[in-house]
């Protein structure tokens, strides 16, 4: 019997997911042993034509990481979907949009202006901006269309499984790979991994919560044994699926929320929001506002990994209008 065929692809992502696969260490050999890798542009030299030449459904499993940010990402998503039996959204970008998805706090035009003109580190005296089409002696060069709104993989093609994490932990990948190899897969549409919360795995001691102000990480040295949120440090662990072993809170850094929401949740940000807001130590609007003044850029915190995947998906489009001061906070965080 021939080995199952495996494809790996990165769309709009940092490459961390690829490293995470390599982070399997010696187990990568088992993967190589178990699968016939037919496409992995990061590691091996394949051409898109090679994939196009395949039969539909010829690839058994495609691990697709990265968000969909331009025509090329979308093209490959559609192509690989057609050629693959099982499509896995691999990592937080493909799952929820993650870091690339934070671009949805802005419009394309605003970003280009910032990147090519306004950013303090930009040195572009001639004001050169990349053009989508450029005539060269060799012919017309075309860049893929850069979308105004970043999408998740599932918003472009049907996805069978999700493997969250930024990047997914080696153990999570192992679980997924084992499941695929053994054929013991959960029902399609599932997130692979246990439905538990970061707090479940976090060894810090939890008490009845009351937050009277927030601190930024540089402002305090947290007590090593107590829940970070109780100490006023932002932590999304209360509303975030675990599988990571609560790595961040264990070393004194609040959970960022990379594994995304728990089962059944529609909007990751809303859950972090409601959890945190519920325990603010204030009853009047004035007291509440005073506490919230110590938490800059709440939307950035809440939607760090699931902006395109949230109910609203992006901010209202500005059509190039100037941002409100309050919105600039979010923009500067990018």
């Amino acid at each position: 019997m021939s080995k199952p065929k495996l494809a790996l692809y990165w769309a709009s992502s940092c490459g961390g997911c690829e490293i995470a696969v390599l982070g399997l260490h010696e187990k990568i050999l088992d993967v190589a042993e178990a699968f016939d890798i037919v496409f992995w542009p990061c590691v091996m030299d394949f051409k898109y034509e090679d994939v196009e030449a395949m039969e539909d459904g010829e690839i058994d499993v495609c691990l697709f990481n990265g968000a969909i940010r331009n025509d090329e990402n979308a093209h490959l998503a559609h192509l690989l979907r057609r050629k693959s039996k099982v499509m896995v959204a691999f990592g937080s970008c493909a799952f929820g949009g993650s870091m690339p998805g934070l671009a949805n706090f802005n419009d394309r035009e605003q970003m280009f202006n910032y990147i090519y003109h306004d950013s303090p580190s930009t040195d572009n005296p001639d004001g050169i901006v990349p053009q989508q089409r450029t005539d060269m002696p060799e012919g017309e060069l075309v860049l893929p269309n850069f979308w105004n709104t970043v999408k998740t993989l599932a918003q472009v093609v049907p996805v069978d499984y999700y493997l969250p994490g930024c990047p997914p932990e080696a153990s999570s990948i192992e679980t997924a790979v084992t499941a695929i190899v053994s054929g013991e897969l959960p029902p399609p549409g599932s997130v692979i991994g246990p439905d538990i919360t970061v707090c479940d795995e976090c060894p810090r001691e939890k008490h009845e919560k009351k937050i009277s102000r927030f601190y930024r990480p540089q402002e305090i040295i947290p007590d090593p044994d107590t829940c970070l949120l109780e100490q006023g440090l932002f932590c999304a662990g209360i509303a975030t699926r675990s599988g990571c072993g609560a790595r961040c809170p264990q070393v004194g850094v609040g959970c960022r929320g990379c594994y995304g929401p728990n089962e059944g949740v529609y909007d990751h940000g809303a859950k972090i929001m409601t959890g945190i807001a519920s325990v603010l130590d204030a009853d009047t609007p004035e007291e509440v506002e005073a506490i919230l003044d110590t938490l800059p850029d709440p939307a950035g915190y809440f939607y760090r990994f699931h902006m395109p995947d949230s109910l609203l998906r992006r901010t209202a489009r500005t059509n190039g209008k100037k941002l409100l001061a309050s919105e600039q906070v979010a923009a500067s965080e990018l």
Binding site: Q132, N145, N148, D195, I196, T197, V198, C199, D200, K206, H207, E208, K209, K210, C227, G237, I238, A239, S242, P261, N262, E263, G264, V265, Y266, K271, I272, T274, G275, I276, S278, V279
Partner: protein
Amino acid sequence: MSENEKRVGVYVCHCGHNIAGTVDVEHVAEWAYNLPNVIISRDNKFMCASTGQEQIEEDVKEFNLTHVVVASCSPHMHEKTFRNAVERSGLNPYLFEMANIREHASWVHPDDQDGATSKAKALVSAAVHRVLHHEELTPMQVEIRPEVLIVGGGVAGIQAALEVAEAGHHVYLVEREPSIGGHMAQLDKTFPTLDCSACILTPKMFDAGSHPNITLLTYAEVEQVDGYVGNFTVRVRKKAKMVHEDLCTGCGTCWEKCPKKVIDTVFESGLGYRKAIYRPFPQAVPKYPVIDVETCIYYDTGKCRACEKFCPTDAIDFEMQDEIVNLEVGNIIVATGYDLFDPRRIPQYGYGRHENVFTSMEFERLVNAAGPSDGRVVLRDGETTPQSVAIIHCVGSRDKNYNGHCSAICCMYSLKFAHLVKERTEAEVYNFYIDMRTIAKGYEEFYDRVLEEGAHFIRGKVSEITDATHASEEEGKLVVVAEDTLIGKQRRVPVDMVILAVAMEPRADAEEVAHRFGIGCGDTGFFTERHPKLDPVATVTEGVYIAGACQGPKDIPDAVAQGSAAAARVLSVISQREVALEPVRATIDEEHCSGCRICNTMCPYHAIDFIEADSVSRVNPALCKGCGTCVAACPSQVISGAHFTFDQLIAEIDGIMVDVNIDEPLVAAEMV
């Protein structure tokens, strides 16, 4: 049940013309067939009538319906009616949902038939989408302890206590003051029959004090209430009386010998004196005195102890400490009464500045034969009989600056005062009123009688009471200035004495008390009944009832009626031995609970416990009242609120927006 096995019946009510006059009811019913899983959809003239209810029962059987939606009036009106109909048809009553297309559509959009019809469709769609997620629910059964706590020993509380005690159940009657009796004990005569207040109240007080089934806890306050209907635990603080009741005979030597005289601001309403060791009034129940440690010389200087020296039975104990009593009761009746409005808040009426301005309660004490003037109607100098008396109605009532509400009793007691002044003096009496409200049996007749006795009635709100005089006949008098709205002229009426008919207000600590017992306070500050018409003595907390003026201004017969009513409600619950609790409650999926403890501080009823061993939170279903605050707080969405689940509410939102087309996102016009 799989999705496509669900079969929904929709019933759109005309409510005669009430709904159908504005909403196109037939169209809504017809349109409802477009909604998922709708098998039958009908319109009906009156769904709440027996024919409407029977239609549901028939259809459930004929069409094998699994869920029912009725679009009619407010669920506060008829949710129970239709749940019962659904239950009779063999379905679980919670597999039903109501769409309110009368109060929330036809009645409020009479000029917008299209708008009202679209809204009705949206609300029906919401109900259909929602009901598909409904689950079978069963009320929880809880055992009822027969003991009853009654808070407040005024006439309402006494009445309730006697009713329950007579029925054979034990009552704990808690009273803040040293004696039961309440405001009624301060009064002289009662309107309209003019029978003596003490004569009719004292026997009841005595019965309450001596009944084997009643434990009196006077000079005591409830500090904490835990538990739920049938099983409340109540902590009561009995303030130290400094007198051993088992030794005291109530002989009175102590207060005769006590050298410290203080103004009695409670029973005598500030118009008379008592001693530092005192019994509020001769007929007090219990008959034993207490030492007021605030004014007692011994607690101030460490000397005196006169009462101790003279006490023949050594009943005085200066070292006595407050005592905490824990009670286990099944039901609670709160009858904490009212406060009187402080007229100093209306400085232009001069109370406290002009000595001959009295409050109504001061006047009650004045005309009381046992009061500071032995029942003589005199000015504050204690000897002069007034030649003219003004009675100002609605002082602090029906006035947006103070209390918007009508205090219900002032018209009548003002008439009583007019009569008593006429009876005991030669004085002219002027009543300044806004409207005369003499609404109960015998009241209007009493008004006629006082009119015939020659009291004057001037319709106008008094603008000021001043000693700044205009004319010689005003010299030395108080001038009552008001516009007489019946003749359209300003009147200046010089009088010797003014009585302010002050408002009944919620107790100063009503909000705190309400919180302690899980009762709500309305916008006037009085306790809120469960339903203003159909459930006037129950509250939203099962097992907690209210009676008397703590619920709103009322006179003695109404307070007594409510005391009896609350007792009857309690007795009915006790006789059921157990009670069914609404199944709208939260539960935590412990398998998925992360133990983050966000929910722990959400519950005002302390229904959520953190189970340290399992590192999970758990809801005590008997304590949970189903508000859903913890459900919304849970960041991992593992707390579920029965009948208001996440899925049900999302489905309702999706259903309510069904006609707003958003399914096809527009193609971006500004593509490069």
